[in-house]
């Protein structure tokens, strides 16, 4: 029963939009508590891939299992950090954090405990009654990350959450995600096209090909944390992955 070791199994995932072949027969597994990064060229189908995992769109063929059951947002606890800003503008920081908890009908005292925990981990206690438009872009994005982790999700999906941000903020938020991931032992799929970011964060990196995307290679990043971006082994990993995708 090798299957039971895996949190998530993806089998032969294929997607067409009409005639447009976007994803081609993708299969892989994710271990419980693993941090998986997916890198791929712009427009290759990364967002589509995540949307399939959460059932926002239906696959043309293939199946996704979480704990051996076909994935279903109503049964499973999924969380998604979207590429675009996705805080509810009419809710305060605290109510944004509670949004998913209320939908999942998490009991009040447990929800309260989690909200305090996340506010503390993110250092956002002072902002709890602020509305998203009153926050800077990076703070707003931290709310979104907090809203995802607070679900204690079976599977946390992040779609280039730091695409728009400068290097300094990125480093800061990358550490924040690592901190939350370690603390809450979540299973994460993180999409990026920044290779350094992937090597910094991931236990394992999946490299996608151009459209129609399939898995070109899988690289296990065997480096201790916290990682050092100028360490020679780090640079070697980065170079290796860069070489694999030279032909982009």
């Amino acid at each position: 029963m090798e299957q039971t070791e895996y949190k998530v199994r993806v089998e032969h995932l294929t997607k067409y939009f009409g005639d447009l072949h976007v994803l081609d027969d993708i299969s892989f597994n994710i271990r419980k508590g693993e941090f998986l990064c997916v890198v791929g060229p712009t427009g290759c189908g990364k967002t589509t891939f995540l949307n399939l995992l959460t059932r926002i769109i239906a696959p043309t063929s293939g199946e996704l299992y979480i704990d051996g059951i076909p994935a279903d947002p109503k049964k499973h606890n999924l969380a998604f950090v979207f590429q675009e800003p996705s805080a509810m503008p009419w809710l305060t920081v605290e109510k944004n954090l509670r949004f998913g908890l209320e939908i999942k009908k998490i009991p009040k005292d447990e929800a309260d405990r989690r909200v305090e925990e996340i506010l503390k981990l993110l250092g956002l206690g002072d902002f709890r009654n602020f509305y998203p438009h009153q926050l800077s872009v990076s703070t707003a994005q931290r709310i979104i990350i907090g809203r995802a982790f607070i679900m204690h999700p079976d599977l946390l999906l992040m779609d280039e959450p730091y695409g728009q941000m400068d290097i300094k903020l990125r480093f800061y938020l990358e550490d924040e995600v690592i901190k939350l991931w370690k603390e809450l032992k979540s299973t994460v799929v993180f999409i990026t096209h920044n290779i350094e970011e992937a090597v910094y964060l991931a236990d394992r990196v999946l490299i996608l090909t151009n459209k129609p995307a399939s898995i070109k290679e899988e690289v296990i990043i065997d480096l201790p944390r916290p990682r050092d971006v100028v360490d020679s082994k780090f640079i070697a990993y980065r170079k290796y992955i860069t070489d694999q995708i030279k032909w982009w």
Binding site: T54, I56, P73, F82, W90, F99, I103, K104, G123
Partner: protein, 280 residues
């Protein structure tokens, strides 16, 4: 690190407080400007009347209208009702029609915008009714319901109903798809997403619709009262004209303007409370 973060946030809070102060000052200045412009308007009017640039039976001076206002509060002549009765009668009719329009129109717009079935059923009928000017309904409602409260409230309803539906419909249609996806990934049902994401997203447009509806309701009301009534501001204006009393007509017109402004202002306050999450 933590200390730094705390500083950062209290700085931001301070900034927000400062901005609020600035805003309050600016709104005070605006208020003073508005008051001055109104006073200037009455002053010029008074001058025009005093210097007899326009004959008195065409244009009553503001102070004469003010005196009439005091008299009209207890004197039912010549139209048969004191001013407060006329005002209350008008308010009662317009609120009945207007509130019914909100209670029916807004949810209908939301449902049409969210559920394709509702849209397909209602939209064809709505498309036919929409271009009919509300006053065109007046003769028919008189035939059906006479000249009482019900008839006029129905006309007001028809005029206020349309912008409520259209704007709530458009508002909910513009819900950001990413927010809908957030709901879906949380495992929310379609109705929960409608309720918790669609409706809040539609709120801004819905309020725009309701404000248009207030304007429509109030102007249609006056038209309805001129055609079919025995009291109300529109009726008072009509009687003023029949008796050749320009001052009564003008008092009625001013009362309509002022009460309309008060209603809109009260409503804008409500809007600011409900939509306080919006960037100013």
């Amino acid at each position: 690190m933590n200390v730094q973060k705390q500083n950062h946030s209290s700085e931001q809070q301070e900034q927000i407080l400062k901005d609020q102060k600035k805003q309050r000052k600016a709104s005070y200045q605006n208020l003073m400007l508005s008051v001055s412009s109104i006073l200037l308007f009455f002053f010029i009017w008074e001058m025009v009347a005093l210097l007899k640039l326009v004959p008195e039976h065409y244009l009553a001076p503001p102070e004469a209208i003010f005196r009439l206002l005091i008299i009209k509060i207890h004197d039912p002549n010549p139209d048969g009702a004191v001013l407060t009765v006329n005002i209350l009668s008008s308010l009662q009719i317009s609120f009945t029609g207007f509130i019914a329009a909100i209670l029916i129109g807004v949810p209908l717009g939301w449902l049409m915008g969210w559920y394709r079935v509702v849209d397909s059923v209602v939209n064809p009928i709505f498309d036919i009714v929409r271009p009919i000017p509300p006053v065109a309904w007046i003769p028919l409602t008189i035939v059906w319901m006479g000249v009482g409260l019900k008839a006029k409230a129905t006309i007001v309803f028809l005029s206020a109903f349309i912008p409520c539906v259209i704007n709530s419909y458009t508002g909910i249609r513009q819900t950001n798809p990413v927010l809908i996806h957030v709901g879906k990934t949380c495992g929310a049902s379609d109705f929960t997403i409608f309720w918790k994401i669609g409706i809040p997203s539609a709120m801004t447009m819905t309020f725009t619709g309701i404000k248009l509806a207030i304007g429509n309701a109030w102007s249609t009301l006056v038209a309805a009262e001129m055609l079919a009534a025995s009291s109300g501001l529109g009726y008072m204006i009509l009687q003023g004209r029949n008796f050749g009393r320009t001052d009564i007509v003008m008092l009625g017109v001013l009362a309509i303007g002022i009460i309309g402004t008060i209603i809109i202002t009260l409503f804008s306050h409500l809007e600011n409370v409900v939509l306080r999450w919006k960037r100013k």
